[in-house]
């Protein structure tokens, strides 16, 4: 081979490659070493996102049980489960959205409007309860579709979109209720079905709780065992790569927001069953609580990592703190304090785990 190459060509062949090599390459001999799990705890948390919240839950239960042994009584557990059902249900939708690196601030507002629509149609308008239910779920889907359409097709940031729809849906809810509470004179109304109690000895579990658990199983299956689920993680982790791999990113995002909207509708149904009426005086904390549950449950705010079962554990942690602190007789601001710490702790763990991937990406 002739060695009198022009300077530029010579340097290129000597270095082997262009600038990309410096950016991505590094020492060729590193390649084998990097993949080996050097930090076992980190890799464990990485592989099992629900592990850390599960440990927190166990510790929380032990501590609060120690402070007040009434925590683990059948009666308390039954109550906690009933209260968990609504938040748990809403948080499923929130999880799937967060897996795509989105966020939904409007979840509570959508749920409140949906239950007002269901109750108005059934009681005030007098439609059959199942029709009211179906229309309500349809509204949930439309609300999700509005969020999804603005986020996926117009490309607006989900945070801003849902901040906007939070205001809009809150206002619509207030307009629909006009400040009143809608009661259900007929206890066998289908909309109250989710409040039916199934007794196991001293445990009184409502059908709403079973419905919530069923939804967790279904969505966990969809995420873990179907191509749709893979694509949710893929789009959340890397939209460009997903697009190159032939995934229709926009319609996938749309499907996620639609599904979440329907889940919020089911959450509304569970809410009506739990309290036996429909009003707008429901804790406005639901929006933030669902985000708290998802984040504590180990789902990354940056998308692409997390499991829905972790969210259930996260929601349980929120519930145990709420009930446990009340039973311990401390003032309620301690709850906010504790939840705040948990969220920061969860985000810190996520940050630590993400350092694993970005670190080796630069290797």
């Amino acid at each position: 081979m002739n060695e009198t190459e022009e300077a530029r060509g010579g340097s290129e062949s000597a270095a082997g490659h262009g600038p990309e090599r410096q950016a991505a390459g590094g020492q060729p001999h590193d390649i084998r070493a990097v993949g080996a799990p050097k930090r076992p705890l980190l890799h464990f948390l990485h592989r099992y996102p629900a592990a850390a919240p599960a440990i927190v839950l166990i510790i929380a239960v032990a501590v609060f049980q120690f402070l007040n042994p009434r925590l683990l009584r059948a009666q308390t557990i039954s109550l906690m489960l009933q209260q968990l059902a609504v938040l748990g249900c809403l948080s499923i939708g929130q999880t799937v959205i967060m897996l795509t690196a989105g966020i939904d601030l409007s979840v509570g507002a959508v749920m409140i409007v949906t239950q007002m629509i269901m109750a108005e149609l059934s009681i005030t308008v007098g439609l059959p309860a199942w029709v009211a239910l179906v229309i309500g779920l349809g509204f949930g889907a439309v609300a999700g579709g509005i969020n999804g359409g603005l986020a996926a097709y117009i490309g607006l940031p989900p945070f801003i979109v849902t901040l906007g729809t939070l205001g809009v849906f809150t206002a619509i809810g207030l307009f629909l209720s006009a400040g009143t509470t809608i009661f259900f004179p007929n206890p066998s109304n289908l909309l109250l079905w989710t409040g039916n109690v199934v007794a196991f000895g001293n445990f009184h579990v409502t059908t709403g709780v079973f419905l919530m658990i069923l939804l967790y199983l279904i969505v966990a299956y969809m995420l873990a065992r179907t191509a749709w689920g893979r694509h949710v993680y893929a789009v959340g982790g890397s939209p460009e790569a997903s697009q190159l791999a032939g995934i229709r990113v926009r319609s996938l995002l749309m499907s996620v927001y639609l599904l979440s909207g329907v889940l919020y509708g089911i959450g509304a149904w569970i809410q009506i069953g739990r309290v036996g009426n429909a009003s707008t005086n429901i804790s406005a904390n639901l929006n933030l609580d669902s985000i708290t549950a998802v984040v504590i449950g180990g789902t990354s705010l940056f998308g692409g990592r997390g499991v829905v079962i972790g969210t259930l554990v996260g929601a349980m942690i929120v519930q145990v703190f709420e009930t446990g602190l009340a039973l311990a007789g401390v003032q309620s601001f301690y709850l906010q304090f504790a939840e705040g710490l948990l969220v920061i702790g969860a985000v810190a763990i996520d940050h630590w785990i993400r350092a694993l991937s970005t670190g080796s990406g630069r290797a």
């Binding site: 081979m1 060509g9 990309e20 990485h46 179907t226 893979r230 694509h231 460009e240 997903s242 791999a245």
Partner: protein, 270 residues
């Protein structure tokens, strides 16, 4: 220089007016004020490796992104086996049998190796589990992924269930290459497939390219590594500032002449 005989044969069949497997004519693409492609042509014939070289920003990646559906050209035509196609997304190109390893790789860090190999074409379980419950056939995909990686001879990927974000840059590149090789049925496009690879892994990938050519699958290979291009390519398309400057062969032009064309130090009619 033992392969020059083969190259002569290849070059002569190309010249004989057979339809290119993949052809582009007058492709233009601009990004706002930046003109990336200014009416570029390209022909890829059966069983050949077409090298694509040019300085940084010459438009090589943009050209192959248009050919693989990742980008929609502003104007110009793309033909597959002589038939006009208009890819609206990468899926369209994939369906036409065109598979690409992009410079940006296109692997998803959060998913494991097997999931990445099958991303966008997942296999479902046979029977009702697959049709009604749409259940993925995870074990079958892992088996196939292991086979594909082994066939490529890339030993650095050992655990197929390892998530890609725990891999090194070179290993990620190996995943992207393995995926393209496993699925490319008509044309394989590789945009700097060895940029992040070590000496040994580069050799394995380039060995795979040779094997693919032997099996008749045409390859477009982009590289800044001139010796590699001159060793592997049957023909070399040189690009500069969004234009095709020349098409040469390793026999007609030396590496230095190629580089001179590429940088504009030498001019010939394109």
């Amino acid at each position: 220089m033992t392969q020059s005989g083969e190259r002569d044969a290849a070059a002569s069949t190309e010249g004989s007016g057979s339809t290119p497997v993949l052809a582009a004519q007058g492709l233009s693409k601009r990004y706002g004020p930046v003109v990336a492609l200014r009416g570029v042509d390209l022909e890829l014939y059966r069983g050949e490796v077409l090298g694509l070289i040019g300085d940084n920003g010459a438009g090589k990646s943009t050209l192959v992104r248009c050919l693989s559906g990742a980008e929609i050209p502003d104007s110009g035509e793309i033909r597959v086996d002589g038939r006009r196609v208009a890819f609206r997304n990468p899926l369209g190109a994939r369906r036409a049998g065109i598979e690409a390893v992009h410079q940006t790789l296109g692997v998803v860090p959060a998913l494991d190796i097997a999931s990445n190999l099958f991303l966008g074409r997942e296999r479902r379980r046979p029977g009702l589990l697959g049709t009604i419950l749409r259940m993925l056939d995870v074990s079958e995909m892992q088996r196939a992924a292991r086979r594909d990686v082994e066939r490529l001879g890339i030993e650095t990927l050992q655990d197929i269930t390892q998530s890609v974000e725990t891999l090194s840059g070179g290993q990620r590149q190996a995943v992207a290459v393995a995926r393209a090789v496993a699925f490319g049925s008509k044309v394989l496009i590789m945009d700097e497939p060895t940029a992040a690879l070590g000496v040994r892994e580069s050799g394995q990938v380039l060995g795979a390219v040779k094997k693919l050519r032997e099996s008749g699958l045409p390859v477009i290979l982009i590289s800044h590594n001139m010796p590699t291009v001159w060793e592997l390519a049957d023909r070399i398309q040189i690009m500069r500032l969004g234009r095709r400057i020349a098409v040469v062969t390793p026999r007609s032009h030396t590496m230095q002449e190629g580089v001179a064309l590429m940088t504009g130090a030498l001019n010939i009619a394109a």
